[in-house]
């Protein structure tokens, strides 16, 4: 097959892709922070003394782990405003869908990390008079987080890629802008190749950097 690659038509529209990239990064940053912090809260909720809190946290995890993000985004965008008098922007719908799903997965990662800390660490901390919360903050979480950095990195990469799902509600991100450029210039091959390459160029260095971080942390214990 002899195809004449023509990237010029992509680069002529670089500003459209740049706007998309900005939208992607914005969505990613919000979902990363919300997803991870909510995940930590839910993980702590699953260990709470109060049964209702434990049930609610477990229910949350199971619900959001077992429903597709794409459906959630569509649901928040089209269905929620019918039920409640709220206006949901594409940005909001994407944040809700991606963050809640990521929270469910990262809650499981945090829970596994917390459980992997030896009971002796709890006992030593309690024996010098620390409260449960102090023990968690000073002794258990710092060790747990080191152990789960690889899994959290995977989650972060997953969140980054999931941002493309926001195109389903026409949120302006990289894929959405790519579609636009491709439909105007009839060059899907070049556009989607560039979009894929942009994801790779951004994600790969981040992943490498966390490998380095992992190694550095491993040295201290």
């Amino acid at each position: 097959m002899n195809y004449n690659w023509d990237f010029a038509s992509v680069f002529d529209n670089w500003w459209a892709l740049a706007v998309g990239l900005q939208g992607t990064l914005r969505l990613f940053a919000v979902c990363l922070i919300l997803g991870m912090s909510l995940g930590l809260l839910v993980a702590l909720g699953r260990r709470a003394h109060a049964k209702p809190v434990r049930w609610a946290s477990t229910g949350f995890v199971e619900f959001f782990r077992n429903t597709p993000v794409l459906v959630q985004i569509l649901w928040f965008y089209y269905a929620l405003p019918i039920l409640a008098p709220v206006e949901i922007s594409p940005f909001m719908a994407a944040i809700l869908g991606i963050s809640l799903n990521s929270a469910a997965y990262s809650a499981e990662i945090f829970r596994g990390g917390i459980q992997s800390i030896e009971p002796g660490q709890w006992e030593a901390a309690r024996a010098i008079g620390m409260s449960g919360l102090q023990t968690m903050r000073r002794v258990v979480l710092p060790q747990a987080v080191r152990r789960i950095i690889p899994s959290l990195t995977n989650r972060g990469v997953e969140i980054f890629k999931m941002t493309t799902l926001a195109s389903v509600v026409a949120y302006v991100e990289l894929l959405q802008q790519g579609k636009l450029v491709a439909s105007l210039n009839f060059n899907p091959l070049e556009v989607y190749t560039v979009v894929a390459a942009l994801f790779l160029i951004i994600l790969y260095p981040i992943v490498r950097a966390t490998y380095g971080l992992e190694r550095r942390l491993a040295r201290s214990d």
Binding site: E118, G120, Q121, E123, A124, A125, R126, A127, I128, G129, M130, S131, G132, Q134, R138, V139, P142, Q143, R146, S220, D221
Partner: protein, 257 residues
Amino acid sequence: MPDPILRLSGLAKSFDTNTVFEDVDLDVAPGDRIAILGASGSGKSTLLRCVNLLEIPDAGRIELNGDVVGNPEKSGRARYPERELRELRKRVGMVFQQFNLFPHMTVAGNVAEGLVTVLGQSSGPARERALAELDRVGLRDKADTYPSRLSGGQKQRVAIARALAMDPEIMLFDEPTSALDPALVGEVLGVIEQLANEGRTMLLVTHEIGFAYHVANRIAFIAEGGIYEIGTPDEVLKNPRREKTQKFLAEHRRFQF
């Protein structure tokens, strides 16, 4: 006799159907060094852990320097609110068989942790105090290394310094040398002996009977769900009166020469 630092009365603890002990009474006077001996599974660790409420006793009373710990109820079972657990544990130091140092903190960080997080001291004075405690156990030069770089004996000495930094009224040792290579046992026993000579009050669970004989002023032998025999080292170790104590000591002497 001066008022006891620690008084246990009618202490009982079971795990499901397994009754570990039913009615333990023990008075610990200031400066007492009480070695606790007994067969494996006889409940030595459980007794020690009840003293700082890492295990909650089913019944009985714990008094520390005259303060009744928890809220005794009519049923005999006391309730121990979280606040009281923490208050008690500040005043009781514990050293574990497995050291349980915090691997993500430096040696000085381990020792200062309780001062900063529990007692609310600022980091400067806490570090000064940590260095002083490390000096006492001969490890000041290791202050800024991480526990993974230490030998077992050094780790246990750091764990002792960590407990001492809190100025405990009584120290609990649960087989502090059982996880160590024989060559490293001496340095840890040396530190404990030094504490004993300083007049620290301690309960020491150990299998080092020779050490117990030299350092303890009283020996408590645990069997049959309670303190089976208690007395001076000469009484209990040289002339045990009761059968199980005699058998236990004979068993321990079998391979000595």
